[in-house]
């Protein structure tokens, strides 16, 4: 599903240059649940942003679902993001003046789906994350865990190939974290490819494979025995 070869990325701040990714190679097959770990500054978020086409690599090859991702203009990047990717952020990034339902239907709006169908599909995904009865609440009326579940529903709404989660449990307490992970595991069980960036060991061990990053290089990449989150809830 994802093939990455010799990926490099530097940030320039004035005269200083910061080499964040120093040649990343890895592949993700369809249906995998991978966690990317590393201390802060290891480049894990940068890698995820490049995978998510929110940022561009300086060098290297990135192939997503057999489509080479390079020299993207804004228009194509937007189209790919909409078709291929679903994002889950640490800080949820819901639009605060829109109801849960409207937030979930947003990617469908940009996909050009008509309003009626949009609402139906958004409702379906809200049901899936167990928030159907909260559909008309604003994000400010929801708890952190609920917000993240709305964000997950939103990420799923356009039926993307890959879900990218950047510290999805970073702003949540342990119990809620496990609930969210349980949801993510469930989605993975249905065959969706998911990448999770985290720095928490217990969260990482709820995935099927851990990629360890240090100073812009992969130092360890090994499958793990998945711990079901439901055992902890």
């Amino acid at each position: 599903m994802i093939q990455i070869k010799d990926l490099h990325k530097s940030y320039h701040m004035g005269s200083n240059s910061l080499h964040v990714l120093k040649g990343i190679n890895f592949n993700v097959k369809e249906g995998e649940l991978v966690s990317i770990m590393g201390s802060s500054g290891s480049g894990k978020s940068t890698l995820l942003n490049i995978l998510g086409m929110l940022d561009e690599a300086d060098e290297g090859e990135y192939i997503l679902d057999n489509v080479p991702i390079k020299n993207l203009n804004e228009k194509i990047a937007a189209k790919y993001r909409n078709e291929f990717l679903g994002f889950i952020f640490q800080s949820f990034n819901l639009i605060n003046y829109k109801s849960a339902l409207d937030n979930v239907s947003m990617p469908l709006y940009y996909k050009g789906v008509k309003r009626k169908e949009r609402t139906e599909r958004a409702m379906h995904y809200l049901e899936k994350v167990g928030l159907a009865q909260w559909s008309h609440h604003l994000p400010s009326e929801l708890s952190g865990g609920q917000k993240q579940r709305v964000a997950i529903a939103r990420a799923l709404a356009s039926d993307p190939k890959v879900l990218l989660a950047d510290e999805p449990t970073g702003a949540l307490d342990t119990k809620t974290s496990y609930e969210v992970m349980e949801l993510i595991q469930g989605i993975n069980d249905e065959g969706k490819t998911i990448l999770v960036v985290t720095h928490e060991d217990d969260i990482a061990h709820m995935t099927k494979r851990i990629v360890n990053l240090k100073d812009g290089l992969i130092i360890d990449d090994s499958p793990v025995e998945q711990i079901r989150a439901s055992a902890h809830v």
């Binding site: 929110l54 937007a78 990034n93 639009i95 990617p107």
Partner: protein, 414 residues
């Protein structure tokens, strides 16, 4: 632009950000409102002043006399200059080619006039037929003084509409006799005057009759002329000035008055005054325009400012939308369409409110100098579009920049 889905999205955004929408709208609506009111009143002032001048012919030159203040050719100061029929004839002889209408008046300020049991005090003016046009008097019924009245010194009177109302109480005054100082005069006409009650409260009789019945000999009080108008206003003013000056010199010569004695002979040139007043009105209008344009600029800056803040405030939202697959242009379009919709709606609201207020309050204003305040609708609607355009432009630049920001940067924005 006509995408229903887009409009739904925009209405949703606007209705969920009521304060922001309201403030943007308020600055636009108040700008347009103030402009409309200012322009309306500037037009009202112009109308008011114009109607003041409509009381009499604008190209009028009138001559009054007083007491000399300077000795001249052995004559003492303090001498009253009495105009005579001959002074009038001399002026007419010399300037006849340049004059349209001419009159000499002999008047009694407070004349007792009665009809049956009704009595009142009115100004009685002996005059020539031309005075009808110099005073801009409109004949309501009957006729004005004519030449045969003058030649035969007939005892006929043309009364103002006010006198008709005061004395005749709805009766038709034509061919009735009124008593002026006890003498019977036949009413031959009723006139209206744009000057209103003050002017309509007088009686015109033939000047020859007035001189006879009031024992005035060939004395006259004043004379008035209208000068032939050149097509060009400035030229007309120049000519009227030259003639006024010539008449003044002529009269001073006849009556042996020092050329620099300003109080003995006064020549009043309406056109010159009109020019001054019109330029004053033009200045007032220019000031109102200036203030109005200033208001609009303030409105534009206000809208631009609000747009900047809106874009800044929504940077993160823009990042989210882009992460979800929004095209940069759809984001610029969304922000612009919102801005245009709000400014247009608020602008039209301010316009209608301003026009409505003028329409409502205009007729209630009782001032001689403000009449029928009104606004050229085209000018008003143009300013609305100007404001909308400026608001859109002010919104476009930050929106375009925001849409160019990488989503990752926009999302990092807290």
């Amino acid at each position: 632009m006509f995408d229903l889905e887009r409009w739904q999205e925009i209405f949703e955004t606007l209705s969920k950000n009521k304060l922001r929408t309201f403030l943007t709208g308020l600055s636009v609506a108040s700008g347009i409102f103030i402009l409309v009111i200012l322009l309306g009143f500037s037009q009202g002032i112009a109308n008011g002043v114009k109607s003041q001048f409509e009381q009499d012919a604008t190209n009028r030159v009138s001559v009054w006399t007083g007491v000399t203040t300077k000795g001249y050719k052995g004559l003492n100061p303090g001498r009253y200059i009495q105009l005579k029929n001959s002074s009038f004839d001399a002026v007419v002889n010399e300037y006849d080619d340049y004059l349209d209408y001419r009159t000499k008046d002999y008047m009694i300020w407070g004349g007792t006039i009665s009809y049956n049991n009704e009595t009142g005090n009115y100004r009685v003016r002996g005059t020539l037929p031309d005075n009808q046009f110099i005073e801009n008097a409109d004949i309501g019924s009957g006729r004005f003084i004519n030449q045969s009245d003058i030649n035969e010194s007939k005892k006929v009177a043309v009364i103002g509409n006010k006198i008709k109302q005061d004395l005749f109480k709805g009766e038709d005054p034509i061919n009735q006799n009124v008593q002026i100082f006890g003498m019977n005069f036949k009413v031959v006409g009723v006139f209206f005057d744009p000057g209103g009650d003050r002017e309509e409260g007088q009686v015109y009789i033939p000047v020859s009759t007035a001189q006879k019945v009031f024992n005035a000999g060939d004395n006259i009080r004043n004379m008035a002329f209208t000068v032939k108008m050149a097509d060009d206003f400035d030229e007309a003013v120049a000519m009227s000035n030259a003639i006024a000056l010539g008449i003044e010199r002529k009269i001073k010569e006849i009556h042996t008055v020092a050329p620099d004695d300003v109080s003995a002979v006064r020549v009043n040139n309406t056109l010159e005054q009109a020019e001054k007043i019109y330029s004053l009105v033009a200045t007032i209008q220019a000031v109102f325009w200036f203030v109005g344009i200033g208001t609009i600029i303030a409105g534009i800056v206000g809208v631009g400012n609000i747009m900047l803040i809106i874009v800044k405030e929504r940077t993160k939202e823009i990042g989210i939308r882009k992460a979800l697959g929004a095209l940069p242009m759809s984001i610029v379009g969304m922000i612009l369409q919102e801005a245009v919709f709000v400014t247009m709606f608020a602008g039209l609201f301010g316009l209608i409110f301003g026009l409505g207020l003028l329409e409502l309050v205009g007729p209630l204003i009782e001032s001689d100098f403000i009449k029928y305040p009104q606004v050229d609708f085209n000018i008003a609607i143009t300013t609305v579009f100007l404001l909308v355009f400026a608001g859109a432009l002010a919104g476009f630049i930050p929106a375009y920049r925001a849409a160019k920001i990488k989503p990752i940067v926009a999302l990092r924005d807290e």
